[in-house]
Structure formats: C-alpha cells, structure tokens
Symmetry: C2
Subunit: 200 residues, 2 copies
Amino acid sequence: MALAYDNAIQRLIDAFAHLPGIGPKGAQRIAFYLLSAGDEESTNLAEAIAEARQKVRFCDICGNVCETSPCPVCADPRRDHSIICVIEEPKDVMSIERTREYHGVYHVLGGAINPMANVGPTDLNIPKLLDRLKGDEVKEIILALDPNIEGEATTTYLSRLLSPLGITVTRLASGLPVGSDLEYADEITLGRALAGRREV
Amino acid sequence: MALAYDNAIQRLIDAFAHLPGIGPKGAQRIAFYLLSAGDEESTNLAEAIAEARQKVRFCDICGNVCETSPCPVCADPRRDHSIICVIEEPKDVMSIERTREYHGVYHVLGGAINPMANVGPTDLNIPKLLDRLKGDEVKEIILALDPNIEGEATTTYLSRLLSPLGITVTRLASGLPVGSDLEYADEITLGRALAGRREV
C-alpha cells in the first residue's frame, strides 16, 4: 500500500502545514498546486522567501520589519515623533496606517504578555521603548494592543510601568464596531460602549 | 504615510496570496510569521520547494506525482494490474489508498472536463490511458471522479469512450455518506441512494 507520499512531496506538505492558518488538507492542496503549476510559480515563491530572509530586518528604533534601518516611518521628519503608538505585531502598523488618522511613530512589542505561552514582559521589546522615552521629545504613548486577554494584560503592565514617567498614556477606545448591530454585540463590548459613552 | 510594505515583504506576501486557499490576510500572517520565526523555518520551506521542484516528476505510466518513474504503485508486482482506477488529481490516490479496500493501480487524468475553465478531453491524460488498454491485461476500469458536474461530465465521456473496448467500466456508488442523517441529505443524493438500493 502507498499510504505515504514520496519524501520530497511529504516534506513539502509538512513545510506548508507548519505555517499558521494552513491545515494538513490545505498544505496538500498547495503542494500539489505547486508541483503542477510549473517551475515559474515555485521558483518565484522560493526566491521571495530567500530574498525576504536576506533583505528584511528589524528597525533599530521601533522594531518594525523593514529593508532599511531606521524604517521609513522612523526616518520621516514629517511624522510627529512626540507620539508613540505601541502595537503587538508589524502587521498592526499597516492596520493603523490605513485609517489615515495617525501621524505619529510606532513601537512594535513583538507580541503580548501570555503566561500560557511562556511570554513574559522580558520577552517583549520593552527596554528599547524605555530608551526612547529618556529625552523630552515623547509626550504621549498610545497603547494599541489587541482587545483580548493577552492585550489587556500587556496594556495594564505597560500603563503601570509608564505612568510614573510623567508621559500621557492612552489606549484605544472600546465600543461597538461601526456598521454592527446592537442586538449581536457581546455583553463586554456593550458594557464598554456604555462606560465610554460621549455627549453628542 | 507608509501604506505599502517594503518590496521584499510585499513580494513575499504576494507569493503566498497566489497559492490556493490563502487570502491576503492569511498571506500577510504567514509572511510575518516567517520573518519573525528565524532562518531555520524559512530555509526549510525554501529548500522543500526547491527539492520538490528538482526531484518530483510524473509517473510515465499513471501520471501520478512521484520521485521515481514508474511510481511505487505501478512498479509494485503485488498490486492487481488488471484493474485501473481513474481519478482526477494525484491527491485522490491517497484518499483511495486510505480505505485499504483497493489493490489495483491508478490513472491520474490531471483534472476533469470543464468547459467553463476551457478544459476539454484533449487537456486530460486520456491518450496514455488508452495506451494502457491495448494489451489484454486490463479487465476493469473504475471511474472514481469527483461527484460534481465536471466529474459527471468526465465519467459520461470516458464511459462512452471505453465501453466499445470490451472492458468492464464501473463507477463509485452514489448514496448517503456513513454517519450522516437522512433528514439533511439533499434530494439528488437521496434519489441516487434509492435508485442504488441493495437487498440486505
């Protein structure tokens, strides 16, 4: 019985199955797609991986991924360097940039405090954040962590750490997402929306 | 505004987004995972792709993907070479092998007749199937195509093509999936299960 694939095929499937968001069936589908798609497609993917590995680095200032250090945001004199938005992952930079509402700079923690996954404050990019606060330039820190347990824990930790430094520490508003329905909002979100109500 | 990623990062995201089953968000997630996971992970993936590209080929007899031609199934003297199971894709071999009910050999068509996608009979691996029927060895052809419109069209086409050759041509039974509920079966499946009823 041929209940296992040949080595190279199985290795390819395993390599894809190891990536986040791809299960065994999806990995198999991608592997067979690549094998039948011809050389150009798979060469392009392999080269893109190799190129990214060579060229991409982390910004020495904010910890974002970039090809140059400092990254384009940190190097841009038109950005407001007195406001730092603290986020978990490099991809969060793009989410906030898309709002076109923010003109300050960023600081990427590289995760959030998560005792279940053995991630504590020492595993995050916090020392470099404290270094950036040593001058007088920074006036406000916006804590823009994910609104889940890990993000809340990290927000609480950082707000306690930063408050004594005399810098304004803010966090993103919790509330109802725009376009949603009151009926389907969960109790915690609705409770926060109530607590954070504003005069119109 | 930094509304676009640096070139190497964007190229990596685009390369993953081009794979089947991966959307833009998933591709972004995978790219950042690879960038932060360290060299070993991304080297392994790039090498697995390159290795598969070099080593994997199609079996000259059945069209399955393999590292050696003929493939292990076609080369195995313990398999029953008088029965050929015709399937659409290489991954279908593994699905049928997992049943442990089949001991014949395979023939991979490389797809199914699909006029909407401009796939006709000439685009499928049919000439090699006819070559395999030239001797007296093959007694039965099992058409195991997907039970959808394209699979049905291909089954009809092949059964008309093969019937005059004096070989038994069979197809997989349609009916209720084991473990399912009569109430939730669609009409066509239930109709086929009725038409294909057997004495107990």
